[in-house]
């Protein structure tokens, strides 16, 4: 079993310079995510949630404050973190297996046999047995996202980051993959951070939901979802959380989130 990571974000600030003016994208983010916890981050476009994820994965190391994974400050990408983006970003010239194996290129912890076993196990985990030799062009959107999930997990990272992973999928596939993600989460037992537009998705999946707001990007509040899983989407308790969280997005309440320009850069 992989070791689940503890993520500690302390006094995080992030600025972009746009046309010479400094732009505050993230302001004073403090957040602690426990090992094995499923954390969802919701917020309108421009609230900095994708930027936050890009800092955690290590694609951008220019920030003030600290992000610690198990006490180590994050300054670069690393095999202790995996990420799934909204677009699957598979290499079109590699087969399903080839794509997943790419995740293991620099893994020195595993022996050759362990690598093979891990590839096989993760193809099984996402239910793609029989498609090992298929190319990404031959796969549907949902299947491609499964490959991307397997590729992100094949190193057995301590934490899995998900940047609107199901945003481009149809509702049926999305619901199906949400259940798959819950199963993977309980089987792998690793820490998960999900960024999403979809409040229902956040309530359905997460232990805690972080609500962010824009200009500058900051945490508005954190909501514990105290519901046993599986969580029926039509239950009263579910609806209660949904109503509660939707208030943060209502135009009357906080227009700035809705009107905020999209200043996020794709990770």
């Amino acid at each position: 079993m992989p070791q689940a990571g503890t993520l500690d974000i302390q006094h995080l600030h992030k600025y972009y310079t746009v046309n010479g003016a400094s732009l505050n994208v993230l302001e004073n983010i403090d957040l602690s995510i426990q090992p094995g916890e499923f954390m969802a981050i919701v917020g309108a476009s421009g609230c900095g949630k994708s930027t936050l994820l890009r800092l955690i994965i290590g694609l951008d190391n220019e920030y003030d404050g600290d992000i610690f994974l198990d006490g180590r400050r994050i300054e670069d990408t690393g095999l202790d973190r995996g990420i799934v983006f909204q677009e699957h970003r598979l290499f079109p010239w590699l087969t399903v297996r080839g794509n997943i194996e790419t995740g293991l290129l620099n893994n020195t912890r595993f022996s050759k046999e362990e690598k093979e076993a891990s590839v096989r196990a993760h193809i099984e985990l996402v239910g793609l047995q029989g498609f090992e030799s298929a190319y990404p062009q031959q796969l549907s959107g949902g299947m491609s996202q499964r490959v991307a999930i397997a590729r992100a997990l094949v190193n057995r990272p301590e934490i899995l980051l998900l940047d609107e992973p199901f945003g481009a999928l149809d509702a049926f596939t999305r619901h199906f993959l949400q259940d798959e993600l819950l199963r993977i989460s309980s089987e792998e037992g690793i820490t998960m951070v999900l960024v999403t537009h979809d409040i229902e998705e956040a309530i359905y999946l997460a232990d805690r939901v972080v609500v962010m707001q824009a200009r500058p990007g900051r945490i508005r509040r954190v909501v514990n979802i105290d519901l046993p899983r599986p969580r029926p989407r039509n239950s009263n308790a579910f609806a209660h959380y949904k109503d509660d969280l939707l208030q943060d997005f209502s135009v009357g309440g906080h227009p700035e989130e809705i009107l905020a320009g999209n200043l996020e850069q794709p990770a």
Partner: protein, 275 residues
């Protein structure tokens, strides 16, 4: 996956109305019909007096000449000389232009600086430089191969640079999150991602190599198909001249076929049925 099944329905063996031999004949007519009609017109035009047989001999006469030159080994000699020059020049251009293009493409600021100059070189017609090459390298093999190298070099170089510059940045970032080192990033992502664009340049170069070579052989050579054409014309051996022209076509088709096949093999992932 259903698309794979659907496309298999269209295999010739499964045709509902025609037998296998029938399908073969139909394809032969469909693909070779126009060529056959063309040669038929060529045969008939001089015989019916529509064209001067002295300038356009019937096609059968060219075939007869071809058989004669094939039997005495002359055709093979010229064909071989031309093929070696064009393939040699093409190969040298490929192995030098691709690494250089990869290096330039990796450093965008540098690429932006040199690109206008490279475009100027690419648009300087190789044939215009032929006198320069003859001055520098003389009329031996060197000047002819040098001209082919020059002609092939630019399309490959510019396409390689473009290929590297236009690799999807999302794929590069995705590879970085998997901890790939810069060298791995280059070998595992940038190279395969730019391969299709590089191959476009290689195919253009393949066609250009024949054009440049024929011109070079027409100006100063003692062998080769270009020489055969121009020499036959001087001596009014019109069937030989047309034979040389047809041989050039065959060589061009051959080169293009080999390049197409290797491209298809190298990018098998692109020809897979997609949804």
């Amino acid at each position: 996956m259903s698309s794979a099944n659907e496309s298999s329905l269209a295999l010739p063996g499964d045709h509902p109305f025609l037998s296998r031999a029938g399908v073969f004949t139909r394809n032969l007519i469909r693909r070779g019909g126009a060529i056959f009609v063309f040669f038929l017109l060529w045969e008939l035009a001089p015989r019916l007096g529509l064209a001067d047989a002295a300038f356009l001999p019937p096609f059968s006469e060219i075939l007869r000449t071809g058989w004669k030159l094939l039997a005495n080994g002359q055709l093979f000699l010229h064909f071989q000389a031309s093929l070696l020059r064009s393939v040699g020049g093409f190969a040298i251009a490929t192995v030098t232009a691709i690494p250089l293009g990869l290096a330039i493409g990796r450093y965008r600021p540098f690429a932006d600086i040199v690109n206008p100059l490279l475009e100027a070189f690419r648009n300087t017609a190789p044939l215009a430089l032929l006198p320069v090459f003859l001055l520098i390298f003389g009329i031996g093999e060197t000047s002819k191969i040098a001209l082919v190298i020059y002609a092939c070099f630019w399309p490959i170089l510019l396409n390689t640079i473009t290929g590297v510059l236009t690799v999807d940045p999302l794929l590069i970032k995705s590879a970085r999150t998997m901890g790939l080192t810069p060298v791995q990033l280059f070998r595992k992502v940038i190279l395969p991602a730019s391969a299709p664009t590089i191959f476009v340049g290689i195919r253009v170069a393949g066609a250009v190599s024949v054009i440049a070579l024929v011109a070079a052989e027409m100006v100063g050579a003692k062998s080769g198909l270009g020489y055969l054409i121009i020499y036959s014309q001087y001596n009014f051996q019109i069937p030989e001249m047309f034979l040389g022209i047809i041989s050039i076509t065959v060589m061009g088709l051959l080169i293009s076929y080999v390049l197409r096949t290797s491209e298809r093999r190298l990018s098998a992932w692109k020809s897979q049925p997609s949804e």
